[in-house]
Symmetry: C2
Subunit: 269 residues, 2 copies
Amino acid sequence: MTAVAPSLVITGETRLYAFLGHPVGQARTPHLINPMFRARGVDAVMYAADVAPADLDAAVAGFKAIRNLDGLVVTVPHKAAIVKHADTVLTAGREVGAVNILRREADGRWTADMLDGFGFVNGMRARGHEPAGRSFLMLGAGGAGAAIAHAVAGAGARRITVFDVDDGRAAALVRRVSQAHPLVCVEVGAPVPDGHDTVVNCTPLGMKADDPLPIDPATLGPGLLVIDIIMKPPVTRLLKEAAARGCAVHEGAHMLDGQIGAFVTFFLG
Amino acid sequence: MTAVAPSLVITGETRLYAFLGHPVGQARTPHLINPMFRARGVDAVMYAADVAPADLDAAVAGFKAIRNLDGLVVTVPHKAAIVKHADTVLTAGREVGAVNILRREADGRWTADMLDGFGFVNGMRARGHEPAGRSFLMLGAGGAGAAIAHAVAGAGARRITVFDVDDGRAAALVRRVSQAHPLVCVEVGAPVPDGHDTVVNCTPLGMKADDPLPIDPATLGPGLLVIDIIMKPPVTRLLKEAAARGCAVHEGAHMLDGQIGAFVTFFLG
C-alpha cells in the first residue's frame, strides 16, 4: 500500500513561510516544500509572493509584522537587496553578499543564509558529478556565480576560472574566493574551456529564446560537463548544443532540488 | 460516486488572500473558504496572518506590496482600524464605520465592505429564523452590534432596542440606524426582554469562562430566541442558560457560515 501524504489544510494555527520574488509564476519551491512540511508533521505552508523591487522594503516589513510567519525564501531580483533586513548573516551569505533564505529566531531576530551554492554542489553530487578535484570554467560573476564559485571551492574544486563581461566584477569575485579558500587556484580567464573539465553558465543568457550563447559552442566537446543554472527553459540552448557535441549536461533544476531539503532544515532544524 | 474536491496545491501562479486578526488561532475562515475557491476552479489560497494592533499599518502596506494578493478578510481587533486603508468603502461599511473584507480592484484601488450584518441575517434565515417582523433586544453597541443592528433593520425588523453599558454609545448607534432606516422603531433601552421576541448578545461577555452573563437569565423564557455571536466557545453560558429556560437558541458560528459565500462573491464576483 502506498502512503498518501496528508492533504494541505490551512487553519488559524498554520505557520507561514513566504517565497519572495519578481516574477514568481515559474516558482517551484512552494510546490516542492509544502509536502515536505506535511511529511514531517509540521502544520506550515509556503506561498509565493510577487513583490517588485521598489516594494521590497514594505513587503519585508509586512512579513515581519505577521507573528505566525517564520521564514522567507528569496529569489531574483531580491537576493542582495534583502540582506539589510537580516540581523545575522551566516557564512555563505556573507561570502556572497546575498542571501536566499531568512528565518525568525525565538528571540525575534532574523537569521539569513545563501544556500544556492550548497544546492549546486548537492545537486551535482545527486547526479553523480562530484565537484572535488574538478576544474571549473565559470561564466558570470554575479550573485549566482559568486555563490557557486565559493561553494565549489569549499567542496574541493582543483581550479576555478571566472569569466565575466565586466572584468572588474570577475576580478573582485576571484579575490574574494581566493581569500576564503586560499588552497584553490582561482583566476580570471577567457570563456574558453581548454584545461577545464566543467563549464557552468551563471549568466542570465538562455532565459530568452533569442539570447546569444554564453560561450562559443565550437569550443565544447566530449569529456566536458556543461552545467546551466537557468531553470526556465529546463533545457537551455547551451545544453542542447553541448549535448549535440558529446558533452555531459546538467540542468538548472538540480540546484533547486539540491537545496529544498536544506530549506526545511534551515527553517525547522 | 462522491465528487472529491481537488486537493490544495500552491504554485507560483496561485492568487493570495489573507485572513487578518489577533489572535487567529481560532480562525475558521481559511479552512472554510479554500475548498470554495477550489470548487469554483480558482487557483487561490487564503492563509491566516496574526498581526498585533501596533503592527497593522505595516502589515497592510506589506499585503498591498504583494502583487498576487487580491484581498483580505479582517477580524477582531482590526475591523475599524483598517478602514483608512481602503480607497472605497461600500454602504454597510460606511454605516458601521468598520469593515471585515477588502479587495484589490483591477485599477489597483482597494474596496472594502462589512459583511457581518449580512452574515448574521443570512445565518438566521438558514436556521429558519426570519428577521423580518421581529423585535430585537440588542446587547452591545460596539462594531458587531452596529453591523447587526443595521442589517436587521434593513432586513425588516419591526423594532430594535439597543442596550450598552456606555449609554452614549447606545444612543449614537440608535441615531445612526434610525437615520439609515427611518421606518424601523429603534431606541435605547434596558437589558430586559419584555416586549421583544429576540435577544442578541453582541458584547464580548461569554468568551471567558468566568465572564458575567450579559443579561439576567431570570428574564429569559419560552417564546424567546436567544442569539450569541461569540464563536468560541461554540455554545456560551448564555445559550446554555437560555436553552435550560425553554428559549430557542442560535450560535455565533451561523454568522460566519452565513457570509463565507458572500466573501467568495465579494472577491470573485
